[in-house]
Subunit: 233 residues, 2 copies
DNA sequence: ATGAGCAATATTTTCGAAAATACTTGCTTC
DNA sequence: GAAGCAAGTATTTTCGAAAATATTGCTCAT
């Protein structure tokens, strides 16, 4: 990243602070900002071109999401990655995602079915086009996120959905971390298709089992391939 | 609240912003700041004696907890109360709290048992001393919170515990709201005792049933007594 | 050498002014 | 009289300087 100060301009959110939070979140999830790295205001001000207080506001939201931690009076740092945290996170994700999926399958209407089918279709197309390294592909990541989001989108639980989204980001950071050290990504296309079919077929128990093992297996793989770089404690 | 500007000084947290967040949270949960009330910076600055940016940081955390909502460029307001929100909240609380309780019962050690027993004891003492209106008593509320916190304190899931705490605050606001209109509080002493006994007796299924219906019944009562003041949409 | 105390430096935290944006009021036109 | 516009006011959002706090590096006594 260049060291010349930039004059930040909004691209995404309506306020600069939310925009910065969005960009910072991305830097952290993709591990361009490394776990445990300390987030000094002078440096951030240079990279993001915003003032102390605006950055502070952005960091406050990220701390609430769990991507950043703060020791009061001693600044902020990127949240550490540990096997304990990964296990904690995985447990929480399964609990919440299974509940959301079950209720989505119960309540989902035609539009929901269409969202599920079309987001899977898009995902499959991207995988066809770049069968080698799609897991490092930002487009694939966005489509992957959208497919999983579509599955739970009819649950009608804003509170749990917001929590799910924060957890998804935290998990994606671990996925990206393990992708750096993994010889070749597991093929998830079959799992995604089965998940879609169970959901659309309103086979709730089966779909919940699938999502549970989908999340758990991903987590296990991360633990396996990234164990070296992930702090044990 | 007096209209003379105060020079804020820290009482609680290490930074002023976290201190203000703490005080604001309390004002909102106790409904001294009413649902939907718009939170103007000039007014807040007067009451809390902090500057724009410090207040903004505090509001950002409260927004993440769901006690405050923001429409970008149009400021902050106290989160509305609705029957939908109450139902959403209750569902999320049951899902998370049941999971935490079950795992607490599985893992809890001697210290956990002591925390559960002693916090219930304190609660019972307070109820004895003020059998009439203990539900409006700040001391009782703190003890009540601590008892429920003790129950789940051995679960070892920081992520879900943090979520649980935020949900507890949101729920307490609804409880306080209904307490204003309710002739007489339901007697929860028996439920609390049964909960303690099931937990200490390591009877996980029974304890989970009890906590589930404890939360659900409380929510139903709130809906019943506060329906008038709670927006239907 | 080692650690305590203190000065110098680095960093975070807080402030109030200035810029940007939204809202209101009163006027004009149809 | 209603709709649209414009100027003025209210409010939020952003900034960089100043205050508070933490960290580092040095001196000196043991």
């Amino acid at each position: 990243m260049t060291t010349t100060a930039l004059k930040a301009r909004k691209e995404f959110g309506k306020t600069l602070a939310s925009d910065i939070a969005h960009r910072l979140r991305n830097e952290i999830v993709t591990c361009r900002l490394k776990p445990n790295e300390s987030l000094k205001f002078d440096a951030l001000r240079l990279s993001f071109g915003a003032s102390f207080t605006t950055l502070r506001e952005a960091l406050t939201s990220l701390a609430a999401e769990g991507l950043v931690v703060t020791e009061e009076q001693r600044g902020y740092k990127v949240a550490p990655v540990t096997l304990e945290d990964l296990a904690d996170l995985t447990h929480a994700r399964i609990l919440i995602e299974v509940d959301l999926l079950r209720r989505s399958i119960e309540k989902g209407d035609d539009d929901w079915e269409i969202r599920v089918i079309s987001s899977l279709h898009r995902l499959a197309r991207i995988e066809e086009r770049a069968p080698e390294d799609y897991a490092n592909n930002a487009e694939w990541k966005a489509a992957h996120r959208q497919f999983h989001e579509a599955l739970v989108s009819a649950s009608g639980s804003p509170t749990l959905l917001a929590m799910r989204n924060a957890l998804f980001d935290r998990a994606e950071r671990y996925r990206n971390l393990s992708a750096m050290f993994r010889p070749r990504p597991r093929d998830k296309a079959g799992e995604h298709r089965a998940l879609m079919q169970a959901a659309i077929g309103r086979n709730a128990d089966q779909a919940c089992d699938l999502i549970r093992s989908h999340i758990q297996t991903t987590s296990d793989n991360v633990a396996k391939y990234a164990a070296d770089v992930i702090g044990a404690t």
